[in-house]
């Protein structure tokens, strides 16, 4: 077990009261497993993983619960200790490669900086490693690319550089926060291939955050669907796609255009919009948009069962 998150809660103090961005999220991650985390914007997928990275710097954030990395508790770990893990054992790939790199330094310099922060190697050694890494992420001319500045590279190339940087210290856990969202479709496919290949060569476990069901179906071993700060369904990829149990998951899958057969005249959409985290309904947060809601949904929040494939829905418990 690489990562074990139990009952994680993240709240932000605001002028309008406490906003609970993450409300009791639990999940496990095995070695070299890819976990897909799916949800709309604001569902808490990014915040929960930033909490794992210890990257929530907002002084108004309150983090509760337990995050164990290889058995070691990360919540409440002194910043210095956390820093030793970050970039070294736990690395992150960000959504927007356009802004994720410091504009005034070369790619090579920035990757070498990370290597040297964690390994006591010479600059020349670090640069050798950088060249190797850039070759690994399919830079056509790695040696030349090292002396390039971020603005001289295309979006896809920058994302490759960010991935090379994340892999520079052979992390056991890689967190990818929508790494393909800002890229063209053709470039996306290349990046997904890359992630798959690197999982095989580096044996890193990957948490892949996305709102794209297509990406999940291609990449993930297991999937976790989030809505309004809670996990609403989890299961293996096959379970989730062949037998979705939560109405939200069903709705998400229903809104993907089919590749074969008749195209629907209009793609089904989920009515309404995600609730404001400041005014969550008392019962199920998906209740107001749910096609199958009934009385119990309004009184209480359904909890996620303990099974490997589980959904947080009263209808599910009933069945």
């Amino acid at each position: 077990m690489i990562l074990s998150v139990r009952d994680l809660r993240v709240s932000f103090r605001t002028n309008e009261g406490l906003v609970r961005a993450i409300d009791g999220v639990s999940f496990d991650l095995e070695e070299s497993e890819i976990l897909g985390v799916v949800g709309e914007s604001g569902s808490g997928k990014t915040v929960s993983l930033l909490a794992v990275m210890g990257l929530i710097t907002d002084p108004n954030a309150v983090i509760d619960g337990s995050i164990r990395y290889k058995g070691r508790e990360l919540v409440g770990l002194p910043p210095r200790e956390l820093r030793r893990l970050r970039g070294n054992e736990i690395a992150m790939i960000f959504q927007d490669p356009m802004t994720a790199l410091t504009p005034v330094y070369t790619i090579g310099w920035q990757i070498a900086e990370q290597i040297r922060a964690h390994r006591g190697v010479s600059k020349a050694k670090a640069m050798q490693r950088v060249e190797q890494l850039l070759a690994e992420v399919n830079f056509p001319n790695p040696h030349e690319a090292m002396s390039r500045y971020p603005h001289q590279l295309s979006g896809g190339m920058r994302q490759r550089a960010v991935i090379a940087m994340a892999l520079s210290c052979d992390p056991a856990l890689l967190v990818a926060d929508e790494p393909t969202t800002a890229l063209d479709v053709t470039v996306q496919a290349g990046i997904l291939d890359l992630v798959r290949k690197l999982r095989a060569t580096h044996k890193s476990a990957v948490v892949f955050i996305t709102h794209d069901m297509g990406v999940v179906s291609e990449l993930a071993d297991r999937v976790m669907v989030m809505y309004a700060g809670r996990v609403v369904e989890r299961g293996t990829r096959t379970e989730l796609f062949s037998d979705p149990r939560h109405p939200y998951t069903r709705a998400l899958l229903g809104s993907i255009p089919p590749l074969t057969g008749d195209k629907p005249r209009r793609l089904p959409a989920i009515p309404g919009s995600p609730p404001s985290l400041l005014r969550l309904p008392q019962g199920c947060a998906f209740g107001p948009r749910c096609p199958v809601r009934y009385e119990p949904c309004e009184a209480d929040k359904p909890s996620l069962g303990s099974g490997a494939h589980a959904a947080a829905c009263f209808r599910e418990a009933q069945a």
């Binding site: 970050r86 970039g87 960000f94 410091t102 504009p103 900086e113 922060a117």
Partner: protein, 323 residues
């Protein structure tokens, strides 16, 4: 790179040429005013007037007048001030350049170093009492007019407390040549440096703090944190480095203006006969040749400072190197 520098140098010359033409036209070709009478000064005899008219070429077309003027400033250097009875203008300007440069360079080093330290400390300890104290002091520094502050400094160091242990080292007002007396040069300039720098420390410290705090919100800072870098390294190598661009812009403008004569108030208060003082006196007497020369000198420094800023930009920001 060499080509870029040469091109920038060419632009500089062109801008200076433009400035010289405009200044020349304003002072020597204003309709209805006789520049010869101005140059010759009040109560000038008709002979002097004729001599002036002839020597500046006022009886000839404008371009000849302009060429004569530039020749007198840059080639022969024999431009003469009639108001001040035969005072040679160019040597007067050359004499006051080291005074102003000494004053402004020293103050600039002081304000750049101190304000960078203040900006970093304030940004790093954002919203703490230290940050608030530094920013309040900065505001105080900006609010104190330099002529008032200078006089207070003089009152303390030259008169009230001059005999105390703290200020007995302060020499009397005035400028000492560096080559004659380096120690005296330094000691006479310490108080003027501090006085001139205080205003800019306040402005630059606040500007840098704001710029650093803005950079700290950028995505690449989050990347730097995710890399596991120390907070100090993130602040100095990532946030500060990208914040220096605004700082350099401001510095180029202020430095050029100060060297070009804006340090006038400080020069007057501390009895330093620099360019500012020279220009001020020339304006008082409507000493046209002197005005022409000092304006040319000032524009030269503003233009050079701007060119230097452009080069520093290119060093700081690789995005500007492309084209």
């Amino acid at each position: 790179m060499i080509y870029a520098i040469l091109r920038r140098f060419g632009q500089m010359l062109f801008v200076m040429f433009g400035i010289s033409v405009i200044v020349f036209l304003i002072f020597f070709a204003t309709p209805g005013a006789d520049p010869a009478a101005r140059i010759a000064g009040r109560n000038a005899s008709p002979e002097v007037l004729t001599a002036v008219r002839h020597s500046f070429g006022f009886d000839q077309p404008l371009y000849v007048q302009y060429t004569r003027m530039m020749e007198k400033i840059f080639v022969t250097g024999d431009l003469t001030s009639f108001v001040n009875r035969g005072w040679k203008v160019v040597p007067a300007v050359l004499d006051s350049i080291p005074v102003t440069l000494s004053l402004v360079f020293g103050a600039a080093i002081l304000w750049v170093v101190v304000s960078i330290v203040i900006g970093i400390v304030a940004a790093a300890t954002r919203d703490s009492w230290l940050d608030k104290l530094l920013m309040a002091l900065g505001l105080l520094g900006i609010s104190m007019p330099v002529y008032w502050l200078g006089e207070v400094m003089n009152l303390i160091t030259q008169s009230r407390y001059h005999d105390s242990w703290a200020f007995s080292w302060v020499p009397p007002l005035g400028y000492k040549n560096f080559s004659d007396d380096p120690k005296g040069w330094f000691l006479t300039l310490v108080i003027p440096w501090i006085t001139l720098a205080i205003l800019y420390i306040g402005i630059y410290g606040r500007v840098l703090r704001a710029a650093i705090i803005e950079s700290l919100q950028e995505d690449y800072i989050r990347t730097a944190r995710a890399k596991g870098l120390s907070e100090t390294r993130i602040l100095l190598r990532h946030a500060l480095r990208t914040s220096l661009i605004a700082f350099v812009t401001l510095f180029g403008l202020d430095f050029g203006a100060l060297v070009g004569g804006s340090a006038l108030l400080t020069e007057v208060v501390f009895g330093l006969n620099g360019i500012g003082k020279l220009t001020y006196d020339a304006l008082q007497n409507l000493d046209l040749p002197m005005i022409m020369a000092t304006v040319m000198y000032a524009s030269m420094f503003v233009v050079i400072a701007n060119a230097v800023v452009d080069f520093v930009y290119i060093l700081l920001d690789p995005r500007l190197r492309a084209s």
